[in-house]
């Protein structure tokens, strides 16, 4: 009855191949010492699960890290921040990647279950981008308008309410949202809807990429997803202004780093307790320039400006 993990609708073929390769090799959790195929160093597997927003960048981290440290395998899977946090609470993974903060009660639950306090690492930033179809004439939107479109009881249901002229049969706004295990979903609810609920009837996609995909196919759609999933030529990023009357800010690396863009958020990793051994090395490496360049190349915002200089 219980799916081990929900497969993302666009299966990363690399991930599958990686899983097969791993299954053929003896693996062990950090701290264990069985197996061993690389001479002195025992083979180590780090389990990383969580955010769909971060699954691509986490995958590249894992691949690049393996080039430098061949005895360390990092297994990456998505499912949503909530799924990663649930697994961390159960103690079945080493590293949860999330695009939202762990709530106080989740931290308490993790402490109760595993006896260890979750430790948080900020590893990058993301601008939460509002996407529309490329042919939509709208260029900017305010936070209040977004809430009126997405929140329960919000009054905006048609593009004409926003002053946008689309063909008559495309006037009803098609809201594209995320499933409730998504960190992006929770972040949007907390910071744009002010903790109010979403209107029923939104199309709840199971991945960051699918949101952009569906918006690209649907002229009357509006949706939110990570900056790294932008597909120029299919969708358009809207400028967002924090309040009506204030200038709208374009989402991007610079505006996120300068904290001007109103709906930016940190990308986080959580471990159980203070990380040790290879897990600590892995996180330290992610925080170095090498790891941060991968963040920027994947379309997200690194911790420091200018890390991607050659």
């Amino acid at each position: 009855m219980r799916p081990a993990h929900r497969s993302s609708c666009f299966p990363q073929l690399g991930l599958a191949a990686c899983a097969i390769a791993l299954a053929l090799q003896p693996g062990c959790k950090p701290g264990g010492s069985s197996g061993g195929s690389g001479g002195a160093n025992p083979r180590i597997t780090i389990q990383n699960k969580g955010s769909d927003t971060m699954v691509n960048v986490a995958q590249v981290w894992a691949e690049e890290y393996k080039k430098i440290h061949p005895h360390v395998d990092v297994e990456v899977s998505g499912g949503g921040s909530g799924v990663g946090i649930a697994a961390l609470i159960k103690g079945t993974i080493d590293l949860a990647s999330t695009s939202r903060d762990m709530k106080a009660e989740e931290k308490a639950l993790a402490k109760k279950n595993t006896g260890k306090e979750p430790r948080e690492f900020v590893v990058g930033h993301d601008a939460l981008v509002v996407y529309v179809h490329k042919d939509n004439p709208l260029a900017e939107i305010t936070n209040e308008q977004l809430a009126d479109i997405f929140a329960e009881g919000g009054k905006i249901t048609k593009w004409s309410d926003l002053g946008v002229k689309l063909p008559a049969d495309r006037d009803v706004i098609v809201r594209v949202s995320r499933q409730s295990s998504s960190g992006t979903y929770e972040f949007f609810r907390e910071h744009v809807l002010n903790k109010r609920d979403f209107k029923l009837g939104s199309r709840d996609m199971n991945g960051s990429k699918e949101v952009v995909e569906l918006v690209g196919l649907t002229m009357s759609a509006i949706g939110y997803s990570g900056l790294g999933y932008n597909e120029p030529g299919k969708v358009k990023m809207l400028k967002v202004s924090p309040k009506a009357g204030q200038p709208a800010i374009e989402p991007g690396v610079a505006t996120t780093l300068s904290k001007q863009y109103p709906i930016a958020r940190p990308l986080l990793l959580y471990t159980l307790g203070e990380p040790t051994g290879e897990l600590k090395n892995y996180i330290d490496w992610i925080l170095t320039d090498a790891g941060q360049q991968i963040v920027e190349k994947s379309g997200y915002v690194p911790l420091r400006a200018g890390t991607s200089k050659p």
């Binding site: 609708c9 009803v172 098609v174 409730s180 609920d197 029923l200 709840d204 199971n206």
Partner: protein, 315 residues
Amino acid sequence: MTEPNSATPAPPAFAVRAAKRAAWAVVGEKILEALVYLCGFSAIVFVLGIFLFVFKEAFPILANDNFSLTQFLFSPEWYPTSEVNKRYGVFAMIAGTCSVTVLAMVIAVPFGLGAAIYISEFCGHKTREILKIVIEFLAAVPSVVWGFIGLTVMSRLIVQYTGAPVGVNMLNGGIILALMCVPIIVSISEDALKAVPDSYREAAIALGVTRWQLVWRVLLPAAKNGLLAAVLLGVGRGVGETMAVLMATGHAVHIPNSVFDSVRTLTANIASELGEAPAGSDHYRVLFLIGVLLFTLTFAVNLIADTIVRGIRRK
């Protein structure tokens, strides 16, 4: 659903020969017999075990004061993770599951029965073999691939040809599900038609009927039970399918007004939310309660089918 019949009296000739056999052969046979007996009953054990487990996980929510069964069954408001007001209503998803399944059957039954009739009665030997292989190949396509086709190919076609605002909707899910059900319906209906004795065909042809009259007046009534079983197995597949409908229907909590509306099914909802729900939380238990609901739904379908089949048999 028949009980294994373990106490068949051995014919006398067999008994005489058995007396001469070695002791190990007799013991071996007893062991094998016990194994077969066990296999027969294992189905019942598994079904009961699954039902008990699912029910055990769901049960505590029924005793919870914040939860009302009426709201669960008849409210369309599904807010399991709300910070202000949690509401667990699955009515929209019941409507979603039923509507997508019915639509899929409306498409799949004529196609499936038609194909079965063609394969078993009209086409030549070579065409039959080719068609059967192709149709069985259709059954081997994994459901996530169907979902992918729905999400990318079908949704584009639907937007292009129907002018619907969104391509992922009930129609998309229905078509995908129909394609998945057709192979089952075809192979079981074909078996049912094959099982009609040739003497029926010969008698009918001797009376001078046309081929069409033969199919409509003789074969279909004679194979009624098997055909009904085929359709109901298709319904079972439709209600239980998860991945393809999750991707093709748009996954929106919404009671559909037309075939172009997005819907969410019960199965898709469980699949997308069980991973995040902390074990033992209200949300987790409600998801298991949806499982109990699905169980009841399929049980009802089977029961109705059984009653109908029995009714037909009695005539």
